[in-house]
Amino acid sequence: MSARIAVPVFPGTNSEDETVRLLRDCGGDAELVHWSKAEELALYDAFVLSGGFAYEDRIRAGAIAAHDRIMDYVMEAARCGKLVFGVCNGAQILLEAGLVPGTGSGRKPTAAFAKNLPEPHFVCRHVYLKLSIEPSRSAITAALPHGALVPAWAAHAEGRLAAAPEHLKEIVEGDHLAFVYAHADGGVDDAAVPNGSALRCAGLVNREGNVLAIMPHPERDAWNFNHLDRREGADVLAPSGGAVLFRSFVQAVSATQASHPEPRPEGACRRTRASE
């Protein structure tokens, strides 16, 4: 049995289907887990929090979901070294929960994806994420080449990394800045940033490298039909650039699971048996 990946569904999540589909296309054994069945999360080896508007973004984007029972499991699993990957609203939840950059204590967030600037509006724009850490810094990015460019769609109103200067310094010095916005040629400047994000940040990783949060959606640029420059005549379901990050994640999940062939006994730290 291959490593099992859970895609938790909160009320208001809306990108779960394409997320599961891409994970499966990349060889992952992915399933949706409803918010009312949080206890089932103990059966999974890794977690992908997908985009949407969990709990309608009430109070703040990701604030209620960050305190949901689902996140109790996810946080415990992350503590045990399981891989957690959040996209868009999933990333907002991870920041609200304090899992990334993870420089605070407990569930205390030290950064947030705040309202876009200079225009505080929803942005829907094709972007490129440039890997700005050594690939091996995170298991999730380990299969990517150095400085990899990942095409994706930014679709958010609250995607601007915001934090106090001392916390931004921690992000830089702690090597938490996993992805920055870039142009198609890999160039990095403010014009590539769709939302005024501090440090041109598109994604953050925690200290241990097992939790990654990115704002844009690579899963929406994962097949030819939803790539920015649709290649005429090509198979509409041919893989597109956004799939590379998910493929790297699935490889990491499989590798992690293979390195723990015996299941741990209890709760969120339990791993599925490689031979099952």
């Binding site: 009430r58 109070i59 967030p109 600037l117 106090a164």
Partner: protein, 153 residues
């Protein structure tokens, strides 16, 4: 110039306030009711009635069919209430200046008013506003993200 704080709340059921109530209870904050409102600061020009009429006719911030307007006695939270106000970090200030916008977070009332933040008012089972300690707990555990917001008590 006379600064006047205005609270604009829903008179229809407030789903967000209810969600906050449920979440706060789950987080161990013992509250029985949560009220939420937007806080605006206006210059009333010495004529409160005129100000009230002006706000009630401004459909960008007030809908007569679903909103309730309340003039506060002073520009500060009431008993059992915290105001959650957005922080403006240096990065944001610089970005706003570069794009020709005025830096935010000045609390000077302007003609068009200024939205200060969200007020959360918490009540206990006895119907009375909750204590300062409980308010602090609610702000710390859920209502405020200290990375981007500050609490005014």
């Amino acid at each position: 110039m006379t600064e006047r704080a205005i609270s604009i709340s829903l008179k229809i059921p407030d789903n967000t306030a209810y969600t906050a109530l449920v979440a706060l209870r789950r987080l161990g904050v013992d509250v029985a009711r949560v009220e939420r409102s937007e806080i605006w600061i206006f210059d009333d020009g010495g004529d409160v009635r005129a100000l009230t009429r002006r706000i009630e006719s401004d459909e960008t911030i007030f809908n007569l069919h679903k909103h309730r307007l309340e003039l506060l006695d002073r520009c500060a939270p009431r008993a059992g209430e915290v105001w959650i106000e957005p922080l403006c970090h240096p990065e944001e200030r610089a970005l706003r200046l570069r794009s020709g916008q005025a830096p935010r977070a000045s609390r000077r009332a302007k003609d068009e008013g200024e939205r200060i933040g969200i007020a959360w008012r918490l009540f206990g089972a006895d119907g009375a506003p909750v204590s300062r300690g409980l308010l602090d707990m609610a702000a710390e555990r859920l209502l405020c993200n200290p990375a981007i917001e500050k609490v005014t008590r």
